[in-house]
Symmetry: C2
DNA sequence: AACAGAGCTTGAGACGTTTCAACCCCCGTC
DNA sequence: GACGGGGGTTGAAACGTCTCAAGCTCTGTT
């Protein structure tokens, strides 16, 4: 792999001149510039980003950590972040924490060793020791929390309006004539989940419906587990719910599998709506009423804030907290039940 | 951010000794080692991967380029590759080509500048100039093509048994009593797609069914386009197909939307099966008969081959071509039609 | 007692860039 | 004609690490 020295030699100029041609930071006369460019082409030279990073102590790289790339929400966030990053000439390293706190720690260390200039972090569901985050920030590496906002750590964050969105979803179920509405949450260690649950309570309260704690089913982010939990609850709760609200994608899949396995029809027997898309909600039969999160925008905005921190002129402003609104896509699954033929 | 020099100073030893403690390449006496480790902890020191890479000219980083991270197949490939990479102490940079050839070129250049030690490449659907790939290999950077195998470039590859798998799918549709089977392909510039089409022909031929070229519908990888194409074909072809086989995920979604929009029931009016999962095929009504690709394994194997090339002792073996078998998951969508009530 | 050698430790050079200071050449000005 | 200065160009230092060769300190052998 040729170096800048080789290019200089072939072009018959000094190393410095080649560097000036490449970076464009200093003007170079036409004839020399052409010679250098020709040499670069001939040698198939690609500037060594590693050496450049070492010298400038700027890697132009961001890290993004998500729980699991195979959950459809996250690739969309990453695409958004990638777009913003590339607009600023940055590149993105994505890693999966598997929602495991130990792994998260290792990977944060890896990202620091890689000298990423900033980190977009979707914290692991397993409660994250607060200092994992604050130590990074103290070390001067900006962090923006994405989607999941940690408790009690002053840090920039971009997420969705959890409470409002959940409330909107549940209010819709109420408007469709449902009263006994169950909610299936993810791990309640996450503030998001707690806020979504709060939105649920709010909606019921506003409608004058008493909250039945037996209808609050705590799940996790593994569809199979959630399906098992729901099957048990569906057969064990009497009277059963006339609607179910799921607070996130993997959870929703579990609920749907449990409904199928329990032989319950949607929406005739149990109406359904969910927070977060299932990729092809419109193609389900019935199609699924969904709260659509602006995943791409979340990633994009988060990366922009991060880049601002990085490139910003040392202005250490207060942490920014951005909450983007979600949209309710009403489809068939939440439809009012066909009269009387309930359970 | 503290450097190794700072650590050496605090620990009261030479820079070399600190390096030896970190890399473990040279034994260091107990007391010195403890002092160094204490200093590392106290300073919250993280070795500078950039400097190390420069010195050793080993970045321990692989690049992986996929068309679009939001297509569910690719995150699973990436997870597999990531796992293999991490087992060897490598890290992964993922980028999206958007199936655009120009962008692919840019990104390959970026990866080269980043000095990745090897590249896992899912080539763009837009026909890729062959030399894009061969130039990289000539420069000494191993490349393993994943999922999509380019024409006429001698390069390692890991993909699925396209022909066999497609043939299996179509044979299943035939076994379910269908004769007029349409196939909807992605861009035929891809060898995969051509091989899947060939599998289709093979299946028909084996069953003694003549291939009707009017039932070969060429689509692309954008669901909306495919839906439009299918709607047109469904209303324009007479007699219509009694079954449809889609050759990939995004295409399948287009087909399903078109069937819905055309008011055709599955499988009563038109049976359906698809190559590649739709994430939640079991939850559709009807559930979707699917050829499941071993996406994770593809990524894993590909990364292993790549790592072998990288770490291998200069043994420049012949290109390896691995084709993994797919599995047919039979579900409702391919069910034999309910007698007579066709179109 | 001298020496060989094992086992640690150290110092310095090199990796490929960027960038700063210095330099050269030439033009315009006084 | 000397001088100042601007536009180009160059050379060398420095970024943080690894690693080689060399040095040091023992221990054991002769």
């Amino acid at each position: 792999m040729p170096s800048i020295k080789k290019v200089a030699e072939v072009a018959g100029v000094s190393v410095g001149t080649v560097s000036h041609v490449i970076t464009g930071s200093v003007p170079v006369s036409e004839p020399l510039r052409l010679k250098v460019q020709a040499a670069i082409r001939d040698l198939n030279y690609h500037p060594n980003h590693v050496a450049r990073s070492l010298k400038t102590s700027k890697t132009r790289t961001l890290g993004i950590m998500v729980p699991d790339l195979t959950i459809p929400f996250f690739p969309r966030v990453i695409r958004g972040a990638e777009t913003a990053a590339r607009q600023h000439g940055y590149c993105l390293i994505a890693v999966n924490s598997d929602d495991d706190c130990e792994r998260q720690k290792e990977l944060l260390s890896l990202l620091r060793s890689q000298r990423v200039e900033g980190i977009l972090l979707v914290i692991a569901a397993a409660p994250t020791p607060l200092n994992q985050i604050s130590r990074i920030i103290e070390a001067g590496i900006p962090v923006v929390c994405v989607d999941r906002v940690p408790d009690r750590v002053p840090v920039d964050s971009v997420s969705v309006e959890d409470l409002d969105a959940a409330q909107m979803g549940v209010e819709h179920l109420i408007a469709m004539g449902n009263r006994r509405i169950a909610i299936v949450t993810g791990p309640i260690t996450l503030k998001n989940e707690r806020r979504r649950l709060q939105g649920y309570r709010q909606a019921l309260q506003n409608a004058g419906i008493e909250v039945d704690e037996d209808l609050i089913w705590q799940g996790n982010l593994r569809s199979d587990d959630v399906a098992a939990i729901c099957r048990a609850r569906l057969s064990g709760t009497n009277p059963g719910p006339d609607a179910i609200f799921a607070t996130n994608g993997p959870t929703a899949l579990g609920v749907l599998r449990a409904l199928r396995d329990s032989g319950l029809r949607t929406p005739q027997d149990v109406a359904f709506a969910t927070f977060d898309e299932l990729t092809v909600d419109d193609l389900f039969t019935p199609s699924i009423t969904t709260i659509v999160q602006p995943a791409y925008d979340i990633g994009f905005r988060a990366a922009e804030i991060l880049l601002e921190r990085i490139e910003g002129e040392g202005v250490v402003a207060q942490p920014v907290t951005i909450r983007l609104p979600a949209i309710l896509e009403v489809r068939e699954s939440s439809g009012s039940r066909i009269n009387g033929q309930g359970r």
